[in-house]
């Protein structure tokens, strides 16, 4: 189960990077469908790091973090 509060905060970060009000996508859908490219992906990573006061590992690859679920799981690991 996803932490809904965390899911909302991650979704808000995605919306801000994509410059939209809110995003409407399932937790397992690829966020590339929303127009997330490699540059915006790194902007999102930096945004999420600041939001949760964490630091992702250096092996940043889009396909490993390309859904809300993967992002929330990665954040959960870091905030433990």
């Amino acid at each position: 189960m996803l932490d809904h509060n965390m899911e909302k905060r991650v979704s808000d970060c995605i919306a801000e990077i994509l410059n939209v009000e809110e995003i409407n996508i399932d937790a397992d859908q690829d966020i590339a469908q929303l127009g997330m490219d490699s540059l915006k992906f790194i902007q999102l990573i930096v945004k999420i790091e600041a939001e949760f006061n964490i630091s992702f590992d250096d092996d940043l690859v889009f396909e490993n973090l390309n859904t809300i679920r993967k992002l929330v799981n990665a954040v959960s690991e870091k905030v433990k």
């Binding site: 490219d37 490699s38 940043l60 690859v61």
Partner: protein, 359 residues
């Protein structure tokens, strides 16, 4: 493909075919590959090139680039034997009072792509347009719609994405004449390029040639395909040694002695990633042509390398955003290991291809 609408006031439009290029890091590669990619037969030429890397020592802007010199020794050429081309200079256009707009339109309607340098300040969607600043850059035109006066082109947008867009032909004319070149000799030219139905020769995929180039890449051999290299007194690094020049840039950024992450860190690392992507596509092509050659392990090797270089590219973008020197240290350590790893991966591939030829 040309579409002609009928009627008394018939308006014409033309959109020449364009594909997703295998490399987008530098425009001259992207444009060439975007055109060539529309024709399957060009794959042989593509995959027998784009193997070697080159880097000019002391030039921090381009530490990793594909080695694609033309007959002038110019590494930024768009030309290929698959192009039938004509060239006209801006001086000639001015002196002979050639109507620029008619030249562009007639070329496109004649199935010729148009490649030239313009001032991006006048090109919609570019960073220079949004900042209202002059910037001399390449552009490739591939279509025109007479009903709107819009010219279709390919190029980077302000978000650094390689996209198809349009520019009004009046603005295009402005961008062409209100432009100051950086290198007059190479940029004062309009290339009219037509993709040939047949290059006039049969180019079969030559595994021996590919093996030779892979050895050059692995061993960082000085490749002298033209006299220009001699004249410049070998001021280049080749092959995997280009990573050493990238390492120099990492150190300079760490010492805060250099600026411009995009040109000096992000794009070169993106090219290194595309180089591995291109190698994977090359191996798939070899595998399809020669079913007896098993390069599956090498495809896995290069897929892993591609992912590692993608990670480094992403870290360079992150460094641009947050300026954390820890990222640079990590990249330096990674790159040393990747260079050694790629040597081993190349040796395995070279051995596999050699054995297949012996059999």
């Amino acid at each position: 493909m040309i579409l002609i609408r009928s009627g008394v006031n018939a308006m014409k439009s033309v959109f020449l075919p364009i594909s997703n290029p295998l490399s987008r890091g530098y425009l001259h590669n992207a444009y060439q590959l975007a055109i060539l990619g529309t024709k399957d037969e060009t794959k042989t030429w593509i995959f027998m090139n784009y193997i070697q890397l080159i880097s000019e020592i002391g030039n921090h802007r381009f530490p990793i680039t594909f080695y694609m010199p033309d007959h002038m020794g110019y590494n930024w050429s768009i030309l290929s034997p698959w192009f039938e081309y004509s060239v006209i200079t801006r001086d000639h256009v001015k002196q002979l009072k050639i109507d620029f707009k008619e030249l562009i339109k007639s070329s496109l309607f004649n199935n010729q792509y148009v490649y030239l340098y313009v001032n991006e300040k006048y090109i919609p969607g570019t960073l220079s347009e949004s900042l209202d600043q002059n910037f001399n850059h390449q552009i490739l035109l591939y279509g025109y719609d007479e009903s709107t006066g819009e010219v279709a082109f390919l190029g980077y947008d302000k978000n650094r994405q390689f996209t198809k867009r349009t520019v009004n032909i009046e603005h295009l004319e402005l961008s062409y004449f209100n432009n100051t070149y950086d290198f007059e000799m190479f940029e004062n030219r309009i290339y009219l390029l037509k993709l040939r139905k047949d290059p006039g020769f049969l180019l079969e995929l030559d595994l021996n040639s590919i093996i030779d180039q892979l050895i050059n890449l692995r061993d960082s051999k000085r490749v002298v395909n033209n006299v220009i290299d001699y004249h410049r007194d070998y001021s280049y690094k080749y092959g995997l040694d280009t990573y050493d020049n990238f390492m120099v840039n990492l150190k300079l950024f760490k010492e805060k002695n250099i600026q411009g992450e995009r040109d000096k860190l992000i794009t070169p690392m993106h090219i290194a990633m595309e180089h591995k992507m291109m190698m994977i596509e090359r191996l798939k092509y070899i595998s399809a042509l020669f079913p007896n050659i098993n390069v599956d392990e090498s495809i896995k090797d290069f897929s892993l390398l591609k992912q590692k270089f993608e990670t480094l590219r992403n870290l360079m973008i992150k460094y641009e955003l947050i300026q954390d020197s820890h990222i640079l240290e990590h990249a330096m350590n990674e790159l040393i290991g990747l260079k050694e790893n790629e040597k081993k991966v190349l040796t395995r591939l070279i051995d596999t291809l050699r054995e297949s030829i012996v059999q």
